[in-house]
Amino acid sequence: MMEWTSFDTWIVVTGMLSAMACALLGNYLVLRRMSMMGDAISHAVLPGLAIAFIVTGSRGSLPMLVGAILIGIVTAFLVQGIFRLSGLDRGASMGVIFTTLFALGLILIRQAADHVDLDPSCVLYGAIELTPLDTYLVGGFEIPQAAVTNGAMLLFNLLFVVAFYKELKITSFDPALATTLGINADLLHYVLMTLVAATTIAAFESVGSILVIAMLIVPGAAAHLLTDRLGVMLGLSLVFAALAALLGHVGAITVPTWFGFRDTSTAGMMAVMTGVLFLLVFLFAPRYGVLSRVIQQARLALKIVGDDILGLLYRFQEMAATGTAPMHAGDFREALKQNWPVRMALWRLSRRRWVRRVENGFILTDEGLRQGRGIIRSHRLWESFLCGKMGYCETDVHTPAHHLEHFTDEKMQSRLEDAADRPGQDPHQRAIPPAS
């Protein structure tokens, strides 16, 4: 049974604030194709933290922040420098730098461990469950220190993004244009990296250094699949981040109980929830989702099969010259070499009342006849045009016409007719039906 206390509320609030602060900057990492830079920085801040601990001997927020910002700048410079000097690709340059810094951080933490209460696992995946214990008194309310820190970071990032909205946008999409407009793209890059480092540190206590990257990248990536507008993308990523934090904590205290366990790490579940949200968007996004694209393609495929059936029926009736000759469903399957799509297309055509099932097969209705005539008209006009005007006569003229007939509307038909000098017949001496 789930028990919700003010403790849980504060955990969720802290998680939301840090996730939103990260997600806001993460949008730009995704757009600049530097997602892994977030990963690199979040690993590389470890020595910065350790040095701050060792030098000050405390876990105060300010020295931590200073150490992290310094190391963030150093990381960005080192990666850029190695990338330019060594001829390695950007990924490898990052890999060299952040693993080195991380190893250095581990050693320093080990050295400092006797002096300062500092556990690498705490740094790596945070202790959000403990954040409500450490509170500030703000205006009579006890507010967790982590919530204040992350809230301040979110506010700062918001101010930065609003103040430099245009500059960030231009440098993200077209750095060359930005340079010609007099915007210092390099400087903005380093400022962004510094802010990422600072945000990472602020989020440390809640989600830990490695899970920060989930908050940095995944909400932005999900938002990117939903929209083409930067402003909307920023807003959506904030919503995703907040949602992931809420669902993450709820998941952490409920999901394990289904399997008979008590609870699990909230930070871990927050990252999992960003993944779940991403998966949903990945599948169901209206334009860029996998499923919607599959549906679009299936629809198109069905339309084409339906067109082909109408065409076949029209031709058959034309040859039979009686006007109402039925054709079997099996004939369509054989002619189109498809089974299920034909069945579905026939069902669709019947539902639209373009074909009618009679005793021994299918016939066209009046509307179906009109549609079929349109398709055959397109087909034969294309054949005439391709043969007469484009020198296709010697080659197979049927196949390209067959492809094009599905995408030719009435306006185009009449243009084609003019362009092909109003032929009465196609190259195979069959009459081209008039426009209806």
Partner: protein, 489 residues
């Protein structure tokens, strides 16, 4: 500031800070500093007298070798960061295997089961990266980041459950994150040895195929190579090395072993075959020295020291690498700019002497040849006083220039050399005017850049394309040459 300095200073400081215990002492950790080993301890480690040390050192050395070999292909395939994603993605596999085993009442820390779980999730992660890349508009970096963080988050959540389980002892599981080199068992070392052998065999057997895949996958596909299969084999090797390395050095630092040694090896050679073995060697050296240093000094985690050793090798290679190292490239650049100044100097003097006729040799008798002074040369080109003086001195030393201390002239050999240089310059100018429609007034600059790299073959090819009359003697300059400023002798 020079970018080179910018890189090397912090890197050097960091490495120095890591290895010099006095720095840590200064930071107020006096009594907790690294204890330098006694000579006795040193001897014990160096001679591998300890059974435990022997196992660890052999294990890490072989792991470094295997990672170096496999990482080379990974690096050249521009997928270095995939190893990062893979290693993070393995965590849920480890935790899940442990939970399932414990729930079934078996011993949770069965190494093979844990490794199997890790490998399974590595493959799942790779699949997810490929699917995201192919079926969405997101690029490779976002796909890597998403899979890395979400899988790792799942791993942390599962670990949370594992540690809260009543039965089973999950305490050792975190060694997969940070590594637990010092407690490597004989069985682990054997496993690593087998994998290293496998990696080496594959690297040799499939060398040609992998090389083709790395440098031109499309060409390989068009030639009928089973690119997907080869890619899969390569990734399988990466997964195997990653998984084996997980518990030796930890999931974050195994990435370093896959990336840093090959990156360092690139500075020493242009040949893939050599790079492969240098990378393997660097990996092995990192493992050897890293584990050795860690065994000698208490309180230094072996995984981190191994990585820092590799980073040190990288730093040294970056600077001193014999083919792409900064020092080598710097020297080459210096040599080139010296040669360019030398050639420019000879051409300037020649062109100044030319005022009296086609060449200084057959100058008209009543024409006074100008005296060439430093000031005159300085005014004709944008070179600094020092540069010019050094170029003059080098010309003198080579016997191409003669001087009375104030005025400079070409010796017979210098004249010969200068004629060769000026001829190249003017041939190229003529070529640009005749064939590239460059205006005569603009042609000087274009030719200025190319003349220094024209070799004999190119000059011969140029001569073939140009009208015969310019080839008879020294072609006249197609553009106006600034007359000598200053007094004539």
């Amino acid at each position: 500031m020079s970018p080179r300095l910018l890189i090397l200073t912090p890197l050097g400081l960091l490495l120095w800070g890591a290895f010099d215990p006095s720095w840590v002492a200064a930071a107020g950790l006096g009594e907790h500093t690294l204890a330098w080993p006694s000579s006795e301890e040193l001897l014990r480690v160096l001679t591998l007298r300890d059974y435990n040390t022997r196992v660890v050192i052999v294990g890490t050395t072989l792991l470094g070798l295997a990672a170096g070999l496999v990482g080379t292909f990974l690096l050249l395939r521009k997928r270095a960061l995939l190893s990062d994603t893979l290693s993070h993605a393995s965590l849920p596999g480890i935790a899940l295997a442990f939970i399932l085993l414990t729930a079934l009442g078996a011993e949770g820390k069965n190494l093979l089961a844990l490794i199997g779980g890790a490998a399974f999730f590595c493959i799942l992660g790779t699949g997810a990266v490929i699917v995201i890349q192919r079926y969405s508009r997101l690029k490779d970096d976002a796909a890597l980041g998403i899979v890395l963080s979400v899988f790792f988050g799942l791993g942390i959540a599962l670990m949370g459950i594992a540690t809260r389980m009543g039965s089973g002892n999950a305490a050792g599981l975190s060694s997969f994150i940070y590594g637990k080199t010092a407690s490597m068992l004989f069985a682990d070392a054997v496993l690593i040895a087998v994998v290293a052998l496998l990696a080496a065999i594959c690297a040799v057997l499939f060398f040609k195929e992998f090389a083709l895949l790395c440098f031109d996958a499309d060409y390989a596909a068009s030639q009928g190579w089973p690119v997907t299969g080869l890619d899969f084999l390569m990734m399988t090797l990466v997964v195997v090395v990653t998984v084996i390395g997980l518990q030796a050095v930890g999931l974050i630092l195994v990435v370093a072993l896959l990336i840093i040694p090959p990156a360092a090896a690139r500075f020493w050679t242009y040949s893939l075959k050599h790079m492969l073995w240098i990378s393997g060697l660097f990996g092995a050296l990192s493992g050897l020295f890293g584990a050795g240093i860690s065994a000698l000094m208490a309180n230094l985690p072996a995984g981190a020291v191994i990585v820092l050793t590799a980073s040190l090798l990288f730093g040294v290679s970056l600077v001193f690498g014999s083919t792409r190292g900064l020092a080598r490239r710097g020297v080459e650049r210096l040599r080139l700019s010296r040669r360019i100044r030398h050639e420019n100097l000879l051409r300037e003097i020649y062109e100044m002497m030319e005022v009296c006729g086609l060449s200084p040799e057959d100058a008209e008798l009543d024409c006074a040849l100008p005296q060439v002074t430093m000031d005159m040369l300085l005014s004709r080109r944008s070179w600094s006083h020092g540069q010019l003086r050094r170029a003059l001195a080098r010309g003198m030393a080579a016997g191409l220039l003669a001087s009375d201390g104030r005025n400079w002239e070409l010796t017979a050999a210098g004249l010969e050399e200068a004629r060769r240089i000026v001829r190249k310059h003017r041939l190229w100018e003529t070529y640009l005017i005749e064939h590239a429609d460059v205006a005569p007034g603009h042609v000087d600059w274009g030719a200025d850049e190319i003349e220094h790299v024209l070799d004999a073959d190119l000059v011969a090819a140029l001569e073939k394309r140009l009208p015969a009359e310019v080839l008879q003697q020294m072609p006249a300059s197609p553009h106006h040459i600034e007359p000598v400023q200053g007094e004539a002798a």
